[in-house]
Symmetry: C2
Subunit: 382 residues, 2 copies
Amino acid sequence: MTHQALGAGVERGGSVGLVETRSVRLFTEERPFVLASGETLGPLDVAYETYGTLAPDASNAFVVCHALTGDAHAAGHHGDPEHVGWWDTMIGPGKPVDTNRLFVVSSNLLGGCKGTTGPSSPDPRSDRPYGLRFPLTTMSDLVEVQRALLRHLGVRRLQGAIGGSLGGMQVLQWELDHPGEIDDAVLVCASARLTAQNIALSAVARASIMKDEHWAGGDYYGSGSRPDVGLSVARMLAHITYVSEEALQTKFGREQRGDGRPTFGIDFEVESYLEHQGQKFLERFDANTYLYLSRVMDYFDPFADEAAAIRRLLDSRTRWLLVSFDSDWRFPTSHSTQIARVLRAAGRDVTHREISSPWGHDSFLLPVAEYLDLVDDFLGGR
Amino acid sequence: MTHQALGAGVERGGSVGLVETRSVRLFTEERPFVLASGETLGPLDVAYETYGTLAPDASNAFVVCHALTGDAHAAGHHGDPEHVGWWDTMIGPGKPVDTNRLFVVSSNLLGGCKGTTGPSSPDPRSDRPYGLRFPLTTMSDLVEVQRALLRHLGVRRLQGAIGGSLGGMQVLQWELDHPGEIDDAVLVCASARLTAQNIALSAVARASIMKDEHWAGGDYYGSGSRPDVGLSVARMLAHITYVSEEALQTKFGREQRGDGRPTFGIDFEVESYLEHQGQKFLERFDANTYLYLSRVMDYFDPFADEAAAIRRLLDSRTRWLLVSFDSDWRFPTSHSTQIARVLRAAGRDVTHREISSPWGHDSFLLPVAEYLDLVDDFLGGR
């Protein structure tokens, strides 16, 4: 049956092939990272991958920003060509983010759980994992850590940056904090301001985790017990919001697994699918990281002072491509429209396109031909 | 602050005043209720309320069917006039379901937790609560228990029946099982077939309950421990789907409670609201009842054999009013449209009206003037 990702389309371009996730210590306890809040954090390690070759003048760097549950492994494979990175449709030789000409950097976010320092990392003050003693972060903090990585790699400007959902929010924050540092910015189903419903959905996911007694105030590491129930339920809920009603209906409808007699087991195919998504997630994600990164999204509101935001962008030369999907009900097109409006008010060159795709918010990860062509044209047109 | 129900409008009519919930044993262990599955259940007690006076010829009986988390206490109060039943806007002297002329019967559903036999009731085979040994039920079972109550009250035909959401589904099943037994049928934001997304949302709610280790396979009664975490998270999630995005945005937006510095507490007003909804629910509802009644909804598919359904209704004289709300995304208007289409194919007299209301699925419980007028006109017009 049907545990594959939803979606379909045409693959294009080649693969970056075998890649590895590397790690670098960008800050130490003695020379820590200073967060926007003024708090400090060190040591700070960042896990990252690169695809393509940096030009001698470092002019071809391109950043990929991951979404809530992403990681550094965006493209290529780690040994098994059947298991590729989460944005392999987007990144590779001949693909929209073309590694034949770009040097692509993808890193795990600050607060993450796939190699970058986060709540599961050891706190040097105690040598125990941080848990909730890890500092609360902001979108700017996520950006600054990526900028520090780029400095380490010898990069000071970006030919481009791309991100979907939380990834796109980082690109927008990047521009506001460092206007013009990115030449071409691509935001896919992003938002500059979560609605009450968006926050509510995040709040339920967090409540599910934090009310799980195995969460233990965030200090579950090494206890042999984790908030797996809370995290899996959070993922099941989130997953419903990542796909459209139409996609679920087309793929599963009311298809049943049993003999038609009701039970409290997995009677419907859609139940099996969700259960699988929830369980699979436990193998790769940390509950506290879910809390930290979802909270960053809740608070992200870069246009709260719209006039100030516009003033900051007046002298930027960044070109913008905004993509939304008509079936995305987590961050619908109206969110991208709002971003486009403010960017245009600052005189920026903005293309905003709504793509028709039945797959909802998840479309940004899927091989939707019109979408990939659009990004390809935009990035290739420079 | 803002823990009141969403919604606003104009109250009309009077109150039925002080009422009491009564209980009757309709079936015994020796003469049990026979479910559609062939299983038997006894004793079976039903909790119910009545409003108004039964005419000597028993011609003025009217049934109110409750939704997933409702109970028998639909109108009036139990001593404190400030705390009225869940459909007091609809039922009372001079209200759409007019107790000046109707004898209104409202009962707690089979499998419920507010007085009618359900999973929390003692199983005579063991004298311990049933838990998951309570039989799985169908929509027809819920209807037959209500019909048995009416027989007990001396009623054989209904001047009318009304229900919202799961309540409307019961009215529809009633007509299919006993065509023409109801003169006037009112279905409010009902559905004849849950979508994959509907089932998915129910599945996550159930998973939240059943994965809570305090659920204990359903045998938590008397243990001093209950699946409160699972049930409260289920309620928080469900609540998001009962209100529209617009209603949440209007009422809460991004309003914050704290000083703007992120925490993992209740930072946003919408978080406070959801938390309150989740906790309040624990005082009045049983987790196993949530499982049983939500499963009945998943399986409800009375038009699976559409031709057979139409044939059954050809000789019915029941008049239909279907109401949906434009902001309801749990059971949107398309669900009512489908019901209307099949009823009309059987030659039935059907009025379907979509009411504009910002309050989503919950609108059916709220004093939306156009909606109450519509029901009033329909029921008063006979």
